[in-house]
Amino acid sequence: MRLALVHTRYQLLETVRIPIAVIGSTFFPTVSMLFFVVPFSGDDPVVATYATASMVTFAVMSTNIFQYGIGVAEDRAQPWDPYLRTLPAGAAPRFAGRIAAGLAMTLLSLIPVVLVAALATEARVSGPAFLAALGTVVLIAVPFTLMGLAIGYALPSKAATVVAQVIFFPLAVGGGLLFPPGDAPGFITAIAPYLPTRGAVELMWAAVGDFRVNPTSLVMLGVWIVVLAAVAGWAYRRDEGRRFS
């Protein structure tokens, strides 16, 4: 436990020393807030609140896909990880530290989005709703963390970077993150429930407003979590087998 915290601290330190990495994943959602949400629906409290929840979901997704997908793949290419495994501790503290640091970075990446929403739009949440949203953020970080880990452990770093960049935008658009609830084009309404972003954003909408979650989206989110966990687990074990057995 103490070692996990030590690793968390140094992982955060490593990330914070290259601030552009933090700015990168929050950039798109924040810019979307400024360019689309603020001018077009900023003065409608309900629409602005839903839009903010969408951009928060977007930020959670992209931060996790990028930080784990690219971060893990890059670490695997470095001899530092194997070196740490010659120290008298297993792989667990380092892994736990990575997850804890990842969660901290996720929350950090939401700050600009939430600030823009609070200062420049009419988006409002009650105290309990804010807490519910915070809890939901942690929950919906799970599938995207697993997705990032699956990418990071399965692919070399150059491929991981490309895959992360290729999938994050379609996942956002396809899941209906760029449209208000119930107002997406027909084909997106048709495919959205089968993407993990949809279940995630619907949970966020339900946390901050009066939104009824579509059971299909929720079940599919569960399916995604199981599948992504299986793929991440497989990729992790394969990597262990290649490098440490």
């Binding site: 140094y10 020393r17 001899p79 530092w80 194997p82 495994r85 010659t86 120290l87 008298p88």
Partner: protein, 303 residues
């Protein structure tokens, strides 16, 4: 007391056999050099002993336990061939991170002082020179007050002064009772530091003996001579021509001279010299057919 041991260890990577039935006992207080060309299996053997890799068959022990069990590694310090220090972390932070894994680490200031890194404590490792980074990587092996340090080519990339400083550090650790297993390409380094040498070639232990015995046992001589065209003579290796001088190695210089004279070749400036350990070791490795040659030990060498 045996600190680390490999018993009939075989390690395969797919089709490739990196280690083939290797035995090694490392006793407390020994300073052992591990010698061999690239691909001989040195790093594989070290990785097995520190728990990074699993044996295919056979057994490895570290302080009497399984090296893959973290508790067995509490008295171990390691410098891998490449460390890849996190570039954004400062020297002091890297030391603290590694320290946090040991129950009774050496104080940071003492460690940095010992390895001449005190002035660099605030520098990010990404900004260090290759030699400074290497010194830090080696220093990290000593953070946990180990009883055994395993150093995989510790002085690669260091200049002469830095290398000598590091040797002094290793000697000091050894003088205080520490056990050292180091691999090296610098034969000078092994001769300088080690009492015992283990020569690996194609995954097998070719020799395991004192530095003197290894040097003596091969009886390899370097021969220089000027000759227009050298016939094919037995026991001759590594023939090369430099500025009209033919240079070669032979395991039996007396026989070589007899053969040379008998061949009737006109030659001049014949020169026969004892060789460095490097030449001896090249001769041993190239002379070996991997499946038949038994490891050379003091007993077989004397026979």
């Amino acid at each position: 007391m045996i600190v680390a041991r490999a018993v009939q260890v075989t390690r395969r990577y797919g089709e490739i056999t990196a280690l083939d039935r290797v035995n090694l006992d490392l006793h407390s207080g020994e300073l052992v050099g591990l010698l061999g060309p690239n691909g001989a299996g040195k790093s594989t053997l070290l990785n097995l002993l520190v728990g990074l890799r699993r044996v295919t068959t056979g057994r490895v022990e570290l302080f009497g336990g399984d090296p893959r069990d973290p508790a067995s590694r509490r008295r171990l310090g390691m410098t891998p061939q490449e460390t890849g220090l996190p570039p954004t972390l400062r020297v002091g932070e890297v030391v603290d991170l590694v320290s946090a894994h040991y129950p009774d680490p050496m104080p940071r200031a003492e460690l940095l002082d010992r390895f001449g890194l005190t002035d660099l404590v605030r520098r990010q490792t990404g900004g260090l020179s290759g030699g400074q980074r290497r010194r830090l990587a080696v220093a990290l092996a000593f953070v946990g007050r180990p009883r055994l340090v395993v150093l995989d080519e510790p002085t690669t990339g260091l200049d002469v002064t830095a290398r000598r400083d590091l040797w002094d550090g290793i000697r000091q650790f050894h003088a205080e009772g520490g056990t050292v297993l180091l691999s090296s390409h610098y034969l000078e380094e092994i001769e300088e530091l080690a009492q015992r040498v283990v020569v690996l070639g194609r995954g097998r232990v070719l020799a395991d003996d004192t530095v003197d015995a290894i040097r003596g046992l091969s009886r390899v001589r370097r021969v220089n001579l000027v000759a227009p065209d050298l016939p094919d003579l037995p026991g001759v290796r590594g023939v090369e021509r430099v500025d009209g001088v033919t240079r070669l190695l032979t395991t039996d210089s007396d026989q070589f001279v007899r053969d040379l004279v008998r061949s009737g070749v006109a030659f001049s400036d014949l020169e026969i010299r004892p060789t460095s350990l490097e030449d001896a070791f090249l001769a041993i490795t190239s002379a070996t057919t991997p499946t038949t040659a038994p490891p050379v030990t003091a007993e077989t060498a004397d026979a």
